[in-house]
């Protein structure tokens, strides 16, 4: 049984002007225990909304979100609370996600106070110390405030907080996007080490294909709220079948000046998120487009072992 199972999930948002944004449009996906599943897409792809749906922070308009086979919609409050304790999350902006009025120690301790009421103060303190050490912070930083720390250190505090309850699933929502290159490498290395040590399952949300390639086992490519391609990361990135995945890969710029960038196949910007799109969401930007593409939604079909693509030309 997959750890997380989404079936035909829809989620829209109403804008102040009355129009609707279809953030997640008929998405089905699974996250397997012990694996790192990447959701990759640009702004408006629905990747962060999916993260919030998986965490139970947002209900779907329709469809089901299950955790270990249990539909989390309509769970009674105590069960929902127990579930929350098993889900960790690390956000993109470490500073904005840390309360500036609390010390680092209080921030990391807070989930224990809420979810582990049986622990004594000394036991909580010991766990906080250990969590800080695990993210390579000196336990003495517990007395400091997050604003006195660098971005990389703040992100380590966020990771310690996410892991303090030993969650089964950790959602990483663009956890390295706001960090400098050298710090990004440190944090990725840390995520890898924690995964190996605790057998963590990650749902890794990113727009950066280089990081996804380095870090994930499975990849799900999203465009305008729909899954356009998915499969094992090495397979999908070696043999991308959807023109959008191909465009993402050829948009990547090698740091080796002797390797010239591949031809970039796509034109234009993503359309307005409020536009109703009856067919393939890539219509208007796709080099392979034919008239059938705009008529009806394109379902995913298998093109390899575990490799699926939603394109009538693939």
């Amino acid at each position: 049984m997959p750890l997380v199972d989404l079936r035909n999930v829809f989620r829209s948002f109403r804008r102040p002007d009355g129009s609707s944004v279809w953030a997640v449009n008929d998405v089905s996906l699974t996250v397997e225990q012990g694996q790192t599943t990447a959701l990759i897409g640009e702004s408006g792809s629905g990747k962060s909304t999916l993260g919030r749906l998986v965490l139970g922070l947002l209900p779907p308009d329709s469809g089901t979100v299950s955790f270990e086979g249990v539909n989390i919609a309509g769970l009674p409050r105590p069960e929902m609370r127990r579930l929350r304790a098993r889900l960790g999350v690390v956000f993109q902006e470490p500073y904005e996600s840390l309360n500036p009025r609390l010390t680092v120690g209080a921030i990391v301790e807070e989930p224990l106070i809420i979810h582990r009421p049986a622990l004594t103060r000394a036991e909580r303190r010991a766990r906080v110390d250990q969590a800080l050490r695990e993210v390579d912070l000196d336990p003495q930083v517990a007395d400091r405030y997050p604003q006195a720390m660098s971005g990389g250190q703040q992100q380590r505090v966020g990771i310690a907080r996410a892991l303090i309850l030993e969650p089964s699933l950790v959602v990483l929502d663009e956890p390295t996007s706001s960090l400098d290159l050298s710090v990004r490498a440190q944090i990725l290395e840390l995520f890898g080490r924690l995964r190996a040590k605790h057998g963590l399952t990650y749902l890794f949300i990113s727009h950066d294909i280089t990081t996804v390639e380095y870090f994930s086992d499975q990849v799900i490519v999203l465009y305008l709220g729909r899954v356009v391609e998915r499969g094992p990361t090495p397979e999908v990135l070696a043999r991308p079948r959807h023109p959008y995945t191909q465009a993402l890969l050829s948009a990547r710029l090698s740091v080796d000046p002797t390797v010239s960038p591949p031809h970039f196949p796509m034109t234009g910007d993503p359309p307005s998120p409020t536009a109703f799109i009856p067919g393939c969401p890539l219509v208007g930007r796709c080099p392979l487009e034919v008239s059938e593409c705009s008529k009806a939604p394109v379902p995913l079909h298998a093109v390899g072992v575990g490799h699926e693509v939603a394109c009538i030309r693939a």
Partner: protein, 328 residues
């Protein structure tokens, strides 16, 4: 084209004086695209803001020169500098929506740029604007001219900013992270567009970026900055394939590659609240010597690569020791 020497810029803050640029020197040759690369706090953005006269109190340029076509930009009064900026030096900012005026339609912004540097009647301005918008790949330029910035997507807005920057045919274009705010599939199109317009017009460009891929693929030469100083400078083709400063090597190694353990650079950039003495990178450098602590390394030509114009600021015997570090 542009020759910056010993630039020093400081900011006075409540926490003390921030030494943001500490003796920065580099050149941009005719027809060259030069990239300034560094992490946050490296002084890369402060450097171009200083050159363009965009530093405002509590910041100040306190030393150095920036020669552009025989004129020292740092000594020019505000009005004269504004005249060069826009007409002979075009500027492309990171956030197009911050660069465009939200309450004027796009045509009025073309009129403002044109009229700040000369006279033109309305019909000519519109004609020139339409032509520029077509050159930056905007389909339906009439509609864009009559509309406002908020009606544009990020990619379209940045195309308008590029059209405005190139409107008066500048010989030098300065770009500050011009695609960082855009989606990946739009970034590549905008970079191809900018580089194409620069090459085809035989212009020069100075581009500030944190993205090593942008430098590797679009620049002729690279200036690597760390802690308000240039640590290495030279042709991209040799600097990125055979880095000579330990920091450049570490940056290139921090790029994740599947199947290889990631080689993270430990530590963090020093704060700039005291004027750095010695090499600012020494705390993170595996090869630091006692001398690196006491003596600031001057930027110097590298003997055997001198015809290629490479320079590096490091006390190591970089040609021998850094390749050994890279190999081992």
């Amino acid at each position: 084209m542009l020759s910056v020497r010993d630039l020093e810029t400081r900011f006075v803050t409540r926490r003390g004086v921030v030494y943001a640029a500490n003796g920065v020197s580099f050149d941009v040759g005719d027809g060259e695209i030069v990239g300034i690369v560094g992490e946050s706090g490296s002084g890369k953005s402060v450097t171009i803001s200083s050159v363009l006269g965009l530093i405002r109190p509590p910041g100040a340029v306190v030393g150095g020169s920036a020669m552009f076509d025989g004129t020292d930009l740092l000594k020019l009064p505000g009005r004269a500098l504004r005249h060069i900026r826009g007409a002979r030096i075009g500027f492309i900012a990171q956030n197009p929506f911050g660069a465009l005026n939200p309450i004027l339609n796009i045509e009025a912004q073309f009129a403002n740029v044109t009229r700040a540097h000369g006279r033109a009647d309305r019909a000519t301005i519109r004609q020139n604007a339409l032509e520029m918008l077509k050159r930056v790949g905007i389909a339906g330029p009439e509609r864009v001219l009559d509309g406002y910035a908020h009606e544009l997507s990020g990619g379209m807005a940045q195309r308008v900013v590029i059209a405005l920057a190139l409107l008066l045919n500048p010989s030098l274009v300065v770009a500050d992270e011009p695609t960082t705010a855009l989606d990946v599939t739009v970034q590549r199109q905008i970079l191809d567009l900018i580089a194409g317009l620069i090459r085809e017009g035989r212009r020069s460009m100075l581009i500030v970026t944190h993205d090593l891929g942008v430098v590797a693929q679009y620049c002729d030469r690279v200036v690597v900055m760390y802690s308000g100083r240039v640590v290495e400078e030279g042709p991209v083709a040799t600097v990125f394939t055979r880095p000579l400063h330990p920091y450049t090597l570490a940056l290139l190694r921090a790029v994740p590659r599947r199947g290889e353990p990631i080689q993270a650079l430990g530590g963090r950039v020093p704060d700039l609240l005291s004027k750095p003495v010695g090499c600012a990178f020494r705390h993170r450098c595996a090869f630091a010597k006692p001398r690196c602590e006491s003596e600031t390394p001057e930027i110097r030509p590298v003997a055997s690569t001198n015809p290629l114009g490479r320079t590096v600021a490091c006390h190591l015997d970089v040609e021998r020791e850094v390749p050994a570090l890279a190999a081992g």
